[in-house]
């Protein structure tokens, strides 16, 4: 194993370690609240796994500085880059018009895609190939963040349901230790 590989994967291993600690708490601890805590740690670690994936060296958060955003907008509308053919301005105009009208989303996507193709042809000039890059700035992949926002919310929803079940169980049984509850049930 090269040190390169070690440092390249070190982050992941820590995340795996965190995940497994959480997982261990879930399956080894008989106290229900502790189990839920374990579940929380497990889920947060999975979030970290995803976020780690999205990171790109030298990248910044996928938030476009206002200046760049404006520039980009301008670039979009005035088509400052050399247009390969005459139809592009027209296509751009249509796209701009129709983006507002979400009813014809399909059509728009098609056009946007077409447009995007042209743009990448232009952009690949000197940037590292393929990395999400706009106007010279490298951005970290935003998709894992998007997914994890959903996952965090799902996680808290699960936690809430689990906790309410715990409250209910503790009302009914007077304890939240699984061992004791099982014993009670067996005695019945």
């Amino acid at each position: 194993m090269s040190s390169d590989q070690f440092f390249g994967l070190y982050n992941y291993w820590i995340v795996v370690f965190l995940m497994m600690t959480g997982f261990y708490i879930v399956i080894a601890r008989k106290n229900m609240i502790k189990t839920v805590i374990g579940l929380n740690i497990f889920q947060v670690s999975v979030v970290l796994l995803y976020i780690t994936m999205g990171k790109v060296t030298g990248g910044t958060a996928p938030v476009i500085p206002p200046a760049l955003a404006g520039q980009h907008d301008a670039h979009d509308q005035h088509d400052t880059h050399a247009a390969p053919s005459g139809h592009t301005p027209a296509a751009n105009a249509t796209a701009a018009n129709e983006t507002v009208d979400h009813g014809h989303a399909d059509h728009v996507t098609e056009l946007a895609h077409e447009l995007a193709h042209e743009l990448t042809h232009d952009a690949t000039g000197d940037a590292i190939h393929g990395v999400t890059e706009t106007a010279g700035v490298i951005y970290t992949n935003p998709l894992p963040s998007v997914l994890m926002l959903t996952a965090i919310v799902v996680g808290i929803a699960t936690t809430a349901v689990a906790l309410s079940l715990i409250v209910r169980i503790s009302e009914d049984y007077g304890t939240i230790e699984e061992d004791e509850i099982l014993q009670m049930d067996r005695r019945q």
Binding site: M19, F23, V26, I27, M32, T35, L39, F42, Q43, V46, L49, Y50, M53, H102, A105, D106, V108, T109, H113, L143, P144, L147, T150, A151, V154, A157, T158, V161, A162, L165, I166, R168, I169, D172, Y173, I181, D185
Partner: protein, 513 residues
């Protein structure tokens, strides 16, 4: 209007119950919520029937949600298999809901009914969404919708053990979902996309021709396969927990036993089957069978686990005196048969697995519905209290017996068809010991079913059975619709087996380029 509906059909099927759920809560009143959920269920069923018709007419449908095309946006990919499964889920949902009335009033306090209906619709939404989607992360989201609502529904049970069972299921289910999420993450890491079809294409790019040794072309080789293997393993384990495959089944018996009868009917008929479907989709839709079965000894692993599970669970079922628990163990065993079919990974085996998925859902649904009728009238699901109920509740008992015959796999019931298909598929793969063991294991079903039939018909009646009257008409009729369907599909097999065959062909053809 029709055109509009037709175009948005895939998403409407899922969004209609989703929107109806908050409405149920807003309406609050019991009858209104009930009426609304009835109507919505039948509309959903209608929509999904339409969807099936459309799919069989034009073939696979891709629907881009919000018009964002994949791999950017989320895609709904409807093919014969999931269209049929969606029809089944919504149909079963509607039938069970019709059935639910008296049983629900008996087992769940009135004040919670409107929430029950909302959660029921949400559960259905989640299951339908899992079927329809072509996006892996979306599977996770809808899985959670269905799971959360299932946990809550299970906790509605009469005894204090119900919340406990729900909690146990929640822990197991969340572990499963998290495993799934890890698997999805690893796949995303290797392919950079979440669209299932696209992942499949990307994974193929890792495939290189096998090394030539002594002029013989070796098996194909995957570059960087270690991550994919682990991703596959995590997806499989995660789904196996949701499917209740043998060593990971611990949540299921308690959940099925202590949940309200209605919930058990619906969950037993649909939830595990959707997980089986998701598994099929992942094995055949994303990973190619060559990957799953060449690189990994998945087939051997699956069928050995299945067989052990079948035997252990069937034997456990024999010793249960609580009928719901008995059927729950039987469900664990039956999942084994489905996996057995899938593990054969060829046309016949896959067809058999899919057919059994539907047939078993029908049979188990019908049986649990009969159990619900008994629970309502006898106030118990214990074998002793059922003695002699055949006299006072003849139609319910007959429904149970018919469903039981289906589970055993007697000819002219649909259980026979799936058993037969599995058997011939095993023969074709020259898995003779598997075929023989499968048949022997089905004898165990004879024991645990027939014990109940014998108690119903040939025992002196218990105190409770003497006083019992026949179940309410609506419950009886709906039960018989489902039980009757098991017989209809046992005779009229060209449709079910034919459709499953088509689905298997699509899966196998779609999996290998």
């Amino acid at each position: 209007m029709i055109e509009y509906l037709d175009f948005h059909l895939p998403v409407l099927t899922i969004v209609v119950p989703l929107i109806a759920a908050p409405l149920c809560v807003l309406l609050g009143a019991r009858t209104m919520a009930k009426l609304l959920s009835w109507v919505v269920c039948w509309i959903t069923f209608g929509l999904s029937v339409w969807l099936v018709a459309k799919v069989s007419a034009v073939g696979k449908i891709s629907y881009y949600l919000g018009g964002w095309e994949p791999p950017y946006g989320i895609e709904y990919a409807i093919d014969p298999l999931n269209a049929f499964l969606m029809t089944f889920i919504s149909g079963m949902g509607a039938i069970v809901l019709m059935y639910s009335g008296p049983s629900l009033s008996d087992e769940v306090p009135q004040s919670k009914h409107y929430m029950f209906y909302a959660l029921y619709l949400l559960c259905m939404t989640g299951l339908l969404g899992m079927c329809a989607t072509g996006d892996l992360f979306n599977v996770f989201v809808f899985l959670e919708i269905s799971s959360l609502s299932t946990y809550a529904l299970i906790s509605l049970g009469k005894t204090r053990r119900a919340p406990l069972a729900a909690f146990q299921y929640l822990i197991m289910g969340t572990i499963g979902a998290t495993f799934l999420l890890i698997g999805i993450g690893l796949l995303y890491q290797m392919t950079g996309t979440l669209n299932m079809a696209d992942i499949g294409v990307q994974l193929e790019s890792y495939r290189t021709a096998g090394v030539v040794v002594d002029g013989v072309q070796g098996p194909p080789h995957w570059e960087g396969s270690r991550t994919m293997l682990v991703a596959f393993a995590f997806l499989t384990v995660g789904l196996c927990i949701k499917m209740a495959v043998f060593p990971l089944h611990t949540w299921l018996p308690n959940s099925y036993t202590y949940a309200p009868s209605v919930v058990t009917c619906f969950v037993a008929a649909t939830a595990t089957k959707v997980s089986v479907y998701a598994f099929i989709r992942i094995v055949f839709g994303i990973f190619t069978p060559t990957f799953a079965f060449e690189l990994l000894p998945l087939d051997t692993a699956l069928w050995s686990f299945s067989l052990v599970g079948i035997f252990v669970a069937s034997i456990a079922a024999i010793y249960q005196t609580n009928i719901k628990r008995r059927l729950a163990y039987s469900s664990i065993a039956q999942i084994g048969y489905m996996l057995l079919g899938i593990s054969m990974a060829n046309q016949h085996g896959l067809t058999a697995g899919i057919v059994h998925m539907f047939n078993h859902a029908l049979i188990k649904g019908g049986l649990f519905m009969a159990v619900g009728c008994f629970a309502l009238r006898l106030g118990s699901v214990h074998l002793d209290d059922w003695r002699g109920a055949g006299k006072t509740m003849p139609w319910t008992s007959l429904a149970w017996a018919t469903g039981g015959l289906g589970l055993i796999g007697v000819p002219v019931t649909c259980g026979f068809i799936s058993k037969w298909l599995l058997l011939t598929a095993a023969m074709e793969n020259e898995l003779y010991p598997v075929a023989a063991l499968m048949l022997v294991s089905s004898l165990l079903a004879v024991i645990y079913i027939w014990q109940v039939v014998e108690v119903l018909y040939f025992s002196p009646p218990s105190e409770k059975a003497k006083k019992a009257t026949e179940a309410p008409l609506i419950m009886l009729v709906t039960t018989w619709v489902v039980v009757g369907a098991t017989v209809v599909f046992g005779v009229w097999t060209t449709w079910s087996a034919g459709l499953a065959g088509d689905a298997a062909r699509v899966l196998l053809g779609g999996g290998t380029p």
